[in-house]
Amino acid sequence: MLGKERPLAGQLSRRKFVVYSLAASTLTLAAPLGCDGARADADEPASSASRRPLDVLARGADEEMLVLEVTAANKVVVRLPRVEVGQGVTTAAAMLVAEELDARLVDVDIPLAGARAKGNQYTGGSSSVSSLYGPARELAALARAKLVTAAARRWHLPARSLRTKDTRVFAPDGRSATFGSLSASAAGIQRPDVSSKPKPASRHRVIGRPTTRIDARDIVTGKAKYAGDLAVAGAKPTVVARPPTLGGKVVSVDDRAARAMPGVHAVVRIPGGVAVVAESFHHAFKAKDALRIKWAPGPLVSLSDAAIRSRLRAAVPRLGSPPRGSAQTQEEFEFAFVSHAPMEVLTAVADVRAHRAEIWFSSQTPMDARVSIASALGLPKAKVAVHVLRGGGSFGRRLNYDAAIEAALISKAARRPVKLMWSRGDDIRHGRMRPASHHRIRASRVRGKVVAFAHSTASVSEADKQSGASAQGGAGPAVAPAAGPLPSDRGLYDFGRVSERSGSVELAMPLGAWRSVDSGTVRTAEEIVVDEVAKALGKDPVAFRRTTLRSKAVKAVLAKVANAGKWGRAMPPGQAQGVAVHEEYGSCVACLVEIDATDPKSPRVTRVVMAADVGTAVNPRGLEAQLMGTAMDGISTILQAGLHIDRGAVREGSYADFHYARQRHAPPRFEAHIMPSRRQPGGAGELGVPAAAGAVANAYARATGSQPRRFPLNF
């Protein structure tokens, strides 16, 4: 059966056998990923218990599969084609598997899969848990059935009399066997004697239980490894001297002084600047500073914020005429550029040889990265191995693989393995960024009812991808600006005719999708307008939303925060509450914020109450963490964190001037309410951003009696 193709039914007929010759003696199952509910099983070839390897017939190549293995050491290993960047996907995956296998969570290992050639290996769009929910449970449930059947045959007992618990099978007489000890014989089971269906939700004991991250102990002891912590043989610390302006180019380099410095191994030119490879990052930074480089200014050198803002304003499409006889609430909003600024700067280790290359970094899009790296190096894709590592935050930043391509080019040019790290200054000054945008929104009212709601936007889009900083970015389809209306913004409210138009200003700037993508600005602005309309109608913001929201689920999360947050309670002057809702990714959320803006220049959000309905919340504790993170994003982007463009360059260069929130800006009181649900999981990682941002803006407006229109406010 080895390697032999066998036609399968229908559209799958071109796919072939998967042969796990390395997993010769263990139970190994595979399920296609991305098709919820697909069954993993198939008619395996009969193979004698004494003769392996085991051939697992699965519907698709292993490349496209979620593969589960029960090792002889009693570990359940699922190599995950997703990246962990703090969102908790490895913990959620381990929980799904532990649930269906009745394995202990500590016995489940979720290493990250390296870049594959085919299949779904994209982490983004808040889709990770929903894409894994079906396949991971199906796989684990089938594995359990086979393990139980193997134990039944070993003990000559009816399979139905056996129980599973703590990574073991138990007989009624108290005997037990670890999954690991049964794995080899389970691998030969074709038809399990017990059901291999996932449990009904009513029997879930792991799914839905607040669970601590599986990597929490590694993190608090400093053992968790990120790209910069790897010890790849010979990979030397590397930094890049970059131009003072965005997209600036090297005219000439005098590297004599730098090369003469101790500990310097190589100085090479790459499209983004000049790279120094040295004995340590200290040596590398010092040598970089000793380079004498003449730079040609980038294409935006004549451009600053004011001009960008006026071009955006001019690019906003006309709203069209309002319905006859209607009264208007019309508002304009501006959002500045925002850095992703993940805590771990972009870092990539590359070992490029004449005929092959190996790269280690944290990537949301490793398959695209592999193709781009191969083409940058002039190697066939098959000769490029991409190892995916956990990332120290992302927020969309690791959709792009700027640093990985650079590291590969530097390693090739310097003819040695390198460990490239962008400095924090590189990270903030050279992008990527959430694009700046301008919004014009008009709500048309007739007799106390909104009959039309029009939203026209313009945002900066990335021009000239072949040159400048973006050439190394690999802006894949994942970061293309969303065209047309967002899934959420049509029909959230009963506002009659809803229209949305968008324009853009193309600039050669490194941009990228930022957590919640366009919703972070589009929906935030709309939630501010909803408050304005309520005010114009003399209505309370919660009461107005309650009567105009369409969906029961959204009304329910709103009611939850209004109740838990004591909406409408008396507040001292200078303090106020604000509220906003959002619906996207098959989920919805409401946020209630209390703010103390007694000093409008230094407001403090004092309390945040969020409620979310994400369908089945696999790990409520992880979901709460995601909501907490989005609350901080809302506080930061509305009140204080953004980027200025001065003459073609980003003004900010570290967290000293890019004012992402710190402890003193965080709400002393935070609570998240998770609505009970048995629906399939929706998305959760990005969901909270627009609601949090909208609620912070609305609270600030009510506390100060002002109309915040340009964000961040204190900038």
Partner: protein
């Protein structure tokens, strides 16, 4: 190159390094002690936070020459074998971490705070400068209060 001797997580070490080499790179690049993280290199983000003679420092701005004969503790040296430090335990109990990258620094800052101020007020906790880009601040606050109570 000059050589410097100090005590790292309870063990004496000697390294050869330029006098102005920041402790962060001595730890990470010469000694392969990677718990302290680079987040800015200029003393702003505090991801590298560690202890020098029990006090909080940012190793990215402390030259190795200033460390001679002194005691340096990084996140790796906080636990007592398998027994976590109470602050680490509180971090686990509250499941503080998201991406985890800032957390070694956060924990070292919290330990130093609790040493100075065993019963920190909210205002004391607000003075912690460490950035957490994932926004785990509310759980950090809870974990510090828990660790403070458990002493």
């Amino acid at each position: 190159m000059p050589s410097y001797s100090f005590v790292l997580n309870g063990k004496p070490v000697t390294v050869e390094a330029p006098a102005d080499m920041p402790l962060l790179w001595v730890l990470r690049d010469l000694l392969n002690v990677t718990g302290p993280k680079y987040g800015c290199g200029v003393g702003v983000c505090r991801a590298c936070t560690s202890h020098l003679d029990g006090d909080e420092i940012q190793p990215c701005v402390v030259p190795i020459a200033d460390c001679t004969g002194r005691e340096i503790t990084t996140i790796e040296g906080l636990a007592d074998g398998d027994r976590l430090h109470p602050v680490q335990q509180a971090w686990l109990d509250r499941d503080v971490a998201q991406c985890g990258f800032c957390q070694p620094g956060q924990i070292m800052a919290a330990v130093a705070l609790l040493k100075r101020t065993p019963r920190p007020s909210d205002a004391d906790i607000d003075r912690i400068e460490n950035v957490c880009r994932c926004g785990t601040y509310c759980r950090i606050r809870e974990a510090i209060k828990q660790a403070s109570r458990s002493r």
